[in-house]
């Protein structure tokens, strides 16, 4: 596993952001914030934590969003973009923001996707808004002469994000929907084995619901590919100080530890995450079994 020093965030800033635009894209919201200092520090897979509710808010906790895109300071100052689904009060509040409204930003946070050292072929698998961080990743992969093949999946067409953009960003694009409204009817894992074989994929990157990440990892591993998964765990602080966002991950020493997904993740090697044991403290975990106290 990575050393503690490396796990401690070093590059995040906190800035008073301002909404530049906030647009509907299918069922999602594409929010662009002017927030200086984020872009320069961001790597694909990082996330930002946004405060919600304004000065009178009863919601203390920040909401975490994968960074979709950044632009360093230009006409408007640096910007950061996220894509999100409005479901609870915090995301609903963000969905209601208008240009010039203030949104405080902390970021970039978390460990980014690890990049291949060699020019190998990669698959980038996104579920729903989980595709958002994959476009910047695809760009970085191209810079390294790695092939980038995208697989985007969702329940239905309106829940797909970036299928068009994927055509520009990736060498090939495969779309799946559960209801067949567009692309292949089924799950992202259906076309994946064929894709891996066809393009001799070495690394499978994925971002989306936990169930999908687990399934993608299983397919990748079965086909001899590495997997890099960006997980989504409930986070209170996002910066590594609270210990709420843990999940069981197997270390280099073979020991399972409850590790913080906000600083040691959100990107993990998929085969190190004990997917089936999330929500438990598996027997044998470092420090288990615990007793009461809080």
């Amino acid at each position: 596993m990575v050393s503690t020093e490396a796990m401690v965030g070093r590059g995040a800033v906190q800035v008073d952001g301002e909404v530049l635009s906030n647009k509907r894209v299918g069922v999602y919201h594409h929010l662009t914030l002017v927030a200086d200092g984020i872009a320069e520090r961001t790597k694909p897979g990082n996330f930002v934590a946004l405060s919600v509710g304004g000065a009178t808010s009863a919601h203390l906790l920040r909401r975490a969003f994968s960074i979709y895109r950044v632009r360093p300071a230009g006409v408007y100052g640096g910007t950061v973009e996220v894509v999100f689904a409005a479901h609870g009060p915090g995301t609903q509040w963000l969905a209601d923001r208008q240009p010039h409204d203030a949104v405080n930003v902390v970021g970039p946070l978390g460990r980014p996707f690890a990049l291949p050292k060699e020019p190998v072929a990669c698959a980038l698998v996104g579920g729903g808004y989980g595709s958002a961080p994959l476009f910047a990743l695809a760009e970085k992969l191209r810079e390294r002469s790695c092939g980038a093949h995208m697989v985007l999946g969702a329940a239905t067409e309106s829940r797909l994000f970036g299928a068009l953009e994927a055509k520009r960003a990736a060498q090939s694009v495969t779309v799946t929907t559960e209801d067949g409204s567009v692309g292949i009817k089924g799950l992202v894992t259906d076309p994946l084995p064929g894709l891996i074989a066809r393009h001799s994929i070495d690394v499978v990157y994925s971002c989306g619901p936990m169930g999908m990440l687990s399934a993608v990892t299983r397919v990748a591993t079965a086909h001899g590919a590495w997997s890099q998964t960006a997980v989504e765990e409930s986070m209170a602080c996002g910066i590594g100080v609270c210990m709420t966002c843990v999940l069981p991950v197997i270390g280099d020493d073979g020991v399972t530890k409850m590790v913080r997904s906000c600083v040691e993740g959100p990107v993990f090697a998929g085969d190190k995450v004990r997917w089936d044991d999330i929500g438990t403290i598996p027997a044998g975990t470092f420090g288990a079994p615990g007793m009461g106290g809080h």
Partner: protein, 322 residues
């Protein structure tokens, strides 16, 4: 009483038994890990002290997830004291704090008197430790799992062994739970047992239900409620204990988010304050609270932070409506 005073001229020094701190603002245990992660936002040496996450003798995996639930103006947590154990803490985390010129207050937690004693011996004799904070909101495995903090006798026993095994000159603070019928009784008992001061308060026991699963939301079922929601309870605890035990240094914690909040705790009787959950909202919260407190002290004509401590209690005792 409002005298023109410049914030920069306010003397922020605070005295906590044998410890003298440059200012009265600290992090709250469990809300700042061991300081490293906050260093990217501000220099932890600027704070009066950094209170570390409660450390136990052995490594602990903590409770199952989900470990948190947001609640109105607060949150519930059930971390379960996940941590690496005292060896790793002393080898890695404490040295980092000392290298960075922070004043570490080390929070210790045990599940038996023996464990507390061992932690006191190890931590309480390590150079550089500014004080020990004793988290007694833990179940006592030797007494049917009853929480030490809920019983004056058990709570007193913990403090007496910790005080005994800690070096002289290193103050020992007991951190009390508000989930008791009389916090004054517990306070009195731990002070009689040797506590040099008190930290008020730990979280309130709470629960949230997840209607999607129809089950308690937290892996640990119940959790600790923190944040501005509990501030009035914390302030009440400080007020009650300050009146009952004048002269005992108190550290206020619970929902502090601004310099105004911090000053309220000072005038209610606290000599210092800790910022916890507010950090999750604003990673700069501890230094922001410190700056705001300085401004508030000046605006209210307090040349020294110490002069504000217990001001409301004194004016109440005199029957004076200032």
């Amino acid at each position: 009483m409002v005298v023109a005073l410049r914030p920069a001229d306010v003397d922020l020094v605070t005295e906590l038994a044998d410890a003298s701190l440059a200012n009265p603002v600290m992090t709250a245990s469990g809300c700042a890990a061991s300081g490293q992660e906050l260093q990217q936002f501000f220099d932890v040496a600027e704070l009066g002290a950094v209170v570390t996450k409660s450390i136990m003798r052995d490594a602990r995996s903590g409770r199952a997830t989900p470990r948190m639930a947001e609640t109105p103006s607060g949150m519930l947590n059930s971390i379960g004291l996940q941590g690496p154990g005292i060896n790793a803490f002393l080898a890695r985390d404490l040295p980092w704090l000392l290298q960075h010129d922070a004043r570490p207050i080390v929070s210790i937690a045990g599940s038996s008197l023996g464990e507390y004693a061992e932690l006191a011996r190890r931590v309480g004799n390590t150079p550089g430790v500014a004080a020990i904070e004793v988290n007694i909101s833990c179940p006592n495995v030797e007494d049917r799992g009853l929480v030490f903090a809920c019983d004056p006798v058990q709570a007193g026993r913990v403090l007496s062994v910790v005080r005994r095994d800690t070096a002289r000159g290193v103050p020992v603070f007991a951190k009390l739970s508000p989930d008791v019928t009389s916090i004054v009784d517990i306070a009195r008992s731990v002070v009689e047992a040797g506590a040099d001061g008190l930290v008020l308060i730990n979280t309130l026991l709470g629960l949230d239900i997840d209607l999607a699963t129809m089950r308690p939301r937290l892996g640990g079922v119940t959790g600790g409620l923190s944040g501005p929601a509990i501030r009035p309870v914390a302030l009440r605890a400080v007020w009650q204990v300050a009146n009952a035990l004048p002269g005992i240094p108190l550290i206020g914690v619970g929902g502090i988010r601004t310099g105004v909040d911090a000053l309220e705790f000072l005038v209610a009787g606290a000599s210092a304050v800790q910022v916890g959950t507010a950090i999750f909202n604003d990673p700069h919260a501890p230094v922001r609270v410190l700056a705001e407190l300085r401004t508030e002290l000046a605006a209210h004509g307090f040349a020294r932070a110490r002069d504000a401590v217990g001001f409301a209690n004194r004016s109440a005792a005199r029957g004076v409506l200032v």
